[in-house]
Symmetry: C2
Subunit: 216 residues, 2 copies
DNA sequence: ACCTGAACACCGTTCAAGT
DNA sequence: ACCTGAACACCGTTCAAGT
């Protein structure tokens, strides 16, 4: 019999992420996770206080994947902040369940805190006042999270076939939403349209606005 | 024995919202809801296909409370769009559980669709192109939802006493997050600071940016 | 120090049976 | 047409007992 190596939090989190990626966060239960780890559900409680700690842990694990090198002393906050926003979106999209967990957890882990510290450090060392830091960060964060949440819960419109497309357009117009109908048939449901492509428009608009506010 | 009036979806949704408001969305179960309605859990399935329909229903009910009069023919989209964003935030804050449901539901109800139709109609009748409509709406929606999500999941910092405040500052600085620590002690944790006050800064920055993009 | 089995108090949902 | 009781297949978590 080969002896199993001791279980660690790291291994538990890794397996939990795999489960959530493959079967959805709704199917991540302590019992199923334990089964995957070849132990009984109750054994997990030797390593974790409760499921909360598991969820906090895997969110933080996702955040730890953000590319982490930044010249905090940089004098150009704008391209750097842009890069950070893009990076956050990228890791969240890799694990679509993570965005929903992120803002329902009240105990941010070290990687989440490290990220906040990095962004605030960037702004502060570029001469942003406390209030401009707070304004800017609230704005960028809200936008990125809000955008990714919508993106992750969008029906996979790519695979949407012509029949159900016209069906949903017809349903809309029957219920009396003329503008929405028009917009859907003339724009949203065209195969060229991709919600994801909207991300940079909003991000750059926000960054330009912050720049103007910063310069007074 | 007084005869109970027939149960309707409207009554079920109303009771469900009351339950979620009072005890949190986590405590809204089919069984508890049925008990409040003085019926057995299984009877709910005579009125609803499943719990999904319940959640779709109560989200839509929340959206139906948005003030709904709008002069869609208005030539000034900016104050109107601003008012809509503020109204959406207001109703979502009244039912803090609703924001999390909103973007996990894939079947938007009539009130949600009506709202989308209204905003798109406003922009379209003010001469926005399809692509500017899509850009603008994605941006505003992302911001509002992202902001409200953060707002709803913030620890009730108002009641936070001095002891735990300094404790959390110390914890931060011990872990080595100097900027975050500084920002917390010099700004975020001061009693005058309120995250909610950040909302209008971002909203107006975005609206001004859209205005510039619209004018070319 | 770690794992286990049995148990508790829950879930959503189905189904056959009642009125 | 609506309601019910029993049942199924799940949850997270506790606790006393094992090694």
């Amino acid at each position: 019999m080969k002896r199993k190596k001791a279980l660690t939090k790291a291994k538990i989190f890794k397996e939990a992420i795999k489960l959530a990626d493959n079967y959805g966060i709704a199917n991540l239960s302590m019992r199923k996770l334990a089964k995957k780890l070849n132990i009984e559900a109750m054994s997990l409680y030797n390593h974790l206080a409760n499921k909360e700690e598991l969820l906090d842990g895997i969110v933080d694990e996702v955040f730890s994947k953000i590319d982490w090198r930044t010249d905090t002393k940089s004098k150009s906050w704008k391209p750097e902040l842009r890069k950070q926003a893009i990076a956050v979106r990228a890791v969240l999209l890799q694990h679509p369940w993570s965005i929903k967990l992120l803002n329902s957890r009240s105990n941010p882990g070290p990687s989440v805190l490290r990220h906040h510290n990095k962004v605030l450090g960037l702004l502060m060392s570029c001469g942003f006042s406390y209030s401009m830091c707070a304004h800017t960060y609230a704005l960028i964060d809200s936008y990125v999270y809000g955008f990714v949440i919508q993106e992750c819960s969008l029906p996979a419109t790519r695979g949407c076939d012509f029949v159900e497309m016209t069906a949903s357009i017809n349903a809309l117009s029957r219920q009396g939403f003329p503008y929405l109908t028009k917009m859907a048939e003339e724009y949203y449901l065209k195969p060229e349209y991709s919600f994801s492509d909207e991300f940079l428009f909003g991000l750059d608009l926000i960054l330009n606005g912050v720049e103007q506010a910063f310069k007074h």
